[in-house]
Structure formats: structure tokens, C-alpha cells
Amino acid sequence: MDLAVEVDQAVVLLDRFPALAQLDLTLPVGSVSLIQGPNGAGKTTLLRLLAGLATLDSGSARVLGFDVATQRRQVRASVGMLSPDAMLYEDLSIDENLSFWAALGGHGTDAVGAALERVAMTGAADQPVRSLSTGQRRRAALAAVAVRRPRLWLLDEPHAGLDQAGRTIVDDLIGDAIRAGATVIVASHELDRVRPLATHVLTVAGGVVHRSEVREGGSAHA
């Protein structure tokens, strides 16, 4: 089985604080993993490490076969990350934001319209991000991830701030990703939402994976 994520004894320091303290993790391609754990457990840092946005202070990590320390550009180009910050320019419209990120990543702007439709934001496409509600920003940010067609989806609290319809959209997007052969990792407190989809459930605490569980009947097997 091809591995999407191979992390071995990873230590990540945030200003001398070991956010990840010798964490080990392997996940196969096509899996949907739910990361749970208390605040400050290291969930976000783990996602950032897998996105190539954190300095690995010791240990090793490979994402989709690329080394996180030495092949950062390839790692970054193949993942899509939804972070608590929207990563959108406030003064630009959703459409302009998405078109910009698509152009910068070398993706066609034709995917923008489809992604906006997928998150049901077509009507608000021309509104500046500044005027959007939290939920609408979240949807726009999700669309920005979808436009990249990532091979590894890293979703940090994707349900936060979303209404019922929005949450269904997140689940649908995860389904889309799996069907396209991508791997999905979700860090969330909303366990009931993600659990039915998950093939792996990981409990992170104190900067290490404390426990992992492989579930039958996750969406990969559906």
C-alpha cells in the first residue's frame, strides 16, 4: 500500500516549546483520518508539518513520497490546507481571490466557477471578503482548497462556524476528494460529524499520537 504520510520521531519546536514531541504516524493513500485531542495537543502543528509549513527540528517526515525537510516545494504544491485563518485578501472578492490562487499555483481559472458552485457561493462571488460572514469565509476558503485539486487535504476544524448546510458541504467535499484518489486528514472536535467518514481515528495528546484506531466501513471502503 502506498503511504501518503510517514512521520518518524518528529520534533517540531515552536519557540523552544516542543509542539510535536517525537511523533510517529503512517497513513495510507486514500485514507480519511480524524485527528482528535485536547487543545494544545499538537493537532494544528501536525497539519502544518504535513503541509511543509513547520520546521522539523529532528526526526523525519515524508508526504506523498516527498521529504518535508528537503523537498518542501513539492510537498507544498501537492497539499491543500484549510486553516483557521481564511488566507484570503479582505479587499478582493471571492472570485478574485480564488482566481489569483489558481493562477499562482498554475491551475486553470476554469476550476474556480465549479469550486464556488460546490460550496454554494456562486451568488456571492463578487462580494469582497471583508463583507462576508464567518461561515461564508469558511466556504470560500474551502473552495480555495478545492481549486488546487490537492492530493492531500489537511482540514483544520473545517466545521467550525458553519451552518448545517455548510457542514454537509464539507462532508461532500471530503467525499469528492476520496473519489478523486486523494488522502484526507481532518482535525476536528466535531467527532460525530467526521467519524462516519473516517478510516482512521487518531488521538493526539502531548505532542504525540497517543492512540490510533482503524475503522471498518470508512468512506474508503464504501
Partner: protein
């Protein structure tokens, strides 16, 4: 090249919408020119002979603010992380950012040139030289500034560290641009075109260094 234009257009569009530079930095430039006029008395000949130096010192101050704005566009909504994730080459993002800064600085300089003609009674003896020198100096300032701007990203104190790092590096630009303007505005008899070539060398050097170094910084986590 598509990415370069995308970044530059994005920054300029944000400026067009937010008008931060137009409504805050541009008036600041005019105020500084007026203050120099007040400080140096109404003795027009003194003012006129100091014009090139005053002009470029003001441009350096303005450049610090413009570069800080250019950086804060990216840091305000964690867009810098998204730039890192975009997979675009570092030098392309650098070129786009520097281009946008240069365009804004040139617009401000145009207004300031009008200002020194009106306020200081300067006259363009060699408009081609003035424009060429301004162009070369602005590219030099924008490239060096964009590099140092990104080096200050992620530092809590970037507003104070940026001038400390940038201004000593830009000292030769100040000298060269001032001398070139001395010739162009006929305030001193020097060979302005020689200074122009020094400015061009500086601009070229910093465009290359900036492109390489920006990629290194962007790679950093």
C-alpha cells in the same frame, strides 16, 4: 511571467480598493516636503539647491511605509502562508511584489516632482535624465525593500527592524539618485548619467539577489 503579473496586479488592485498608500503615504510625502520648506526658511535658493537630496530622503521614508504596507497585505490574513503553499517560484512572487511597490513609488514620486516644482521652484533642465534616474532608483529601492520586507516577516517587531536594516543598504542609492538629480535639475555640475548607470547596476544586482534570497526565505517554514 503570468504569476509575476498576477501578484503585481493583486497588490495594485488591493491598493486601488483600500487606498492606504494613496490616502496615508502620499499625503505624508507632501507634508515632509512642506516641512523641509518650513525648516529651511523661505530662502528659495537654498531650498532649490537642496532639492535633490530632500526629494530622495523623502522617497526613502515613503518607501519604508510602502514596503511595510506591501508586507502587511500578506501577513494580515496569513496570506503569506498561502503564498508558500501556492507552489509558485520565489523569484516570481518577489518580482510581482517589487513591481507593485515600484509602481506605487513612481506614482508618489510623480506627485512629489510636481510638488518640488511648485514649492521649491525647481526646473527640469534634463527631463530624460530625471525620469531615467527616478526609474532606476525606484527599481533599486523596490527590489532591496521587498527583500528586506520579507526578511522581517514573522518578526514581532518588523516595523522597527525594517528601517534599521534597509536604510544603510540604500545609502548609495540616495547618493547616486541625488547626484543624478543634481544634474537633471541643474543644481550642481556633475555627470548625471554616470550616476544613473550606478543606479542601474544597483537595481540589477538587487533584483538578482532579491530573487534568489526571496526563494530561500519562502522555503523556510
Amino acid at each position: 511571467m503570468r504569476e509575476v503579473w498576477a501578484v503585481a496586479r493583486k497588490d495594485l488592485r488591493i491598493e486601488w480598493r483600500s487606498k492606504v498608500v494613496a490616502s496615508q503615504v502620499l499625503p505624508f510625502a507632501v507634508i515632509v516636503l512642506v516641512l523641509f520648506g518650513l525648516a529651511l526658511d523661505a530662502d528659495r535658493s537654498t531650498l532649490r539647491s537642496f532639492t535633490p537630496g530632500l526629494f530622495w530622503v523623502t522617497v526613502l521614508f515613503v518607501a519604508i511605509l510602502t514596503i511595510q504596507r506591501s508586507v502587511s497585505i500578506e501577513t494580515a490574513s496569513s496570506a503569506f502562508e498561502a503564498l508558500r503553499l501556492s507552489g509558485a517560484a520565489g523569484w516570481k512572487i518577489f518580482a510581482g511584489k517589487a513591481l507593485a511597490v515600484a509602481a506605487q513609488l513612481l506614482a508618489i514620486e510623480a506627485v512629489m516632482l510636481l510638488g518640488v516644482v511648485v514649492l521649491y521652484r525647481s526646473s527640469f533642465e534634463d527631463p530624460v535624465l530625471v525620469v531615467t534616474a527616478a526609474l532606476a532608483a525606484t527599481v533599486a529601492i523596490a527590489t532591496a525593500g521587498s527583500l528586506y520586507g520579507v526578511l522581517a516577516v514573522g518578526m514581532g517587531v518588523r516595523d522597527t527592524i525594517l528601517p534599521m536594516l534597509l536604510l544603510p543598504i540604500l545609502a548609495p542609492v540616495l547618493v547616486a539618485a541625488t547626484r543624478a538629480f543634481d544634474d537633471g535639475l541643474s543644481t550642481a555640475a556633475v555627470n548625471g548619467w554616470a550616476w544613473c548607470s550606478l543606479l542601474a547596476c544597483f537595481a540589477l544586482l538587487y533584483a538578482i539577489i532579491g530573487g534568489v534570497a526571496y526563494a530561500v526565505v519562502l522555503e523556510d517554514a
